[in-house]
Symmetry: D2
Subunit: 114 residues, 4 copies
């Protein structure tokens, strides 16, 4: 699927491995997230270095915007996985459990939207 | 439920009427949304008036922030209703329909999160 | 100038009239803002109508995202005008006044960024 | 100063050292930013670990929201420093240079606001 946000949201569901799902097992493509988060760590380190070297403020702000976008793309991807697995499972069970899952998801969305 | 966002998110599910659900019937408390949106229209009109009267820029920006927050609260509330009804219904049916509903919801969330 | 945000930010400074600046006189092209805010009022009214008619939730969310973007573009435009006039004037005077103006602008930016 | 955003924006100007300003010299309290960015790197690493350990999705999303807020606070702080130094200096010189600095700042703000 495509997402009309900046950054490339991690929303492919084709390659779900199934096997490596240990604890919660909701993450469709764990390696993709791990690579993405490695890169995010690198971006954070780069911003630290930019401040240390007193790079031009506007260039640092550009990098912060890029990092924020990358984080939002990861968040949207994880949320998609969460809806697709945990929430759908709860919905099938129905009742208070389903309600609680939706409420929890909505609160997470509200925090992201702010 | 409570939501740790600014504004008071419209997320009460107690008063779901059921009866007034005409077209899509997903909106838990339509009157609450309508009142909220009436107020939002008034806020937009007020900002127009502030620019017309050349009020102090920072005060106009404060009102724009308040209006944006009010809109986000409505969006989160509608999304909650959507997950609670359309998505849960689709989840129970399962298959491609459920997948498509989640994808659609995630795309809407991505637009809100940006 | 162009701004790499969604929507068309109101950031043209060519047409500053000068004459119609009454109270604060910082708004470069007042008519452009007024037209833009009229359209925003119409968008708010349209969203109210969509809820009234119980249009599909996702379509309402799309309109809310569009309205939020339009508001953000107005806010960025007003902030640009504010920096360009009030803050620059204060900077020339210097001292505590300049400091206070920057602090005030930063607080407005923080509210917009969230 | 206080900022009504989440997180504690780095906006104190009391402790400006002056001495450690090498390249652009605009950063009021470099050590504070460096400490803050070190913590941000740690948060990014923590999120990577959470995905690796397949922690509960909603908990990961909460950490991503916290990291995004921390980044926004750094961005607002840097922007404040930038306005206070580079933009104010340019404003005093006036002319095309001042205009260009404001345009550049506004574009950075637009990217942060989105």
């Amino acid at each position: 699927m495509t997402i009309d946000t900046h950054g490339d949201a991690i929303l492919d569901h084709a390659s779900a491995p199934g096997a490596d799902a240990a604890h919660h097992g909701y993450i469709t493509d764990k390696d993709k997230y791990l690579n993405r988060l490695k890169r995010i760590e690198g971006q954070a380190r780069g911003i630290h270095k930019m401040v240390e070297d007193e790079k031009y403020c506007i260039d640092i702000l550009t990098q912060i915007s890029a990092l924020t976008s990358a984080l939002e793309a990861v968040a949207v991807g994880l949320l998609d996985d969460h809806l697709r697995h945990c929430v759908v499972d709860a919905a099938r069970l129905g009742g208070a459990e389903a309600d609680a899952k939706i409420t929890e998801a909505t609160q997470a969305i509200a925090r992201l939207v702010r």
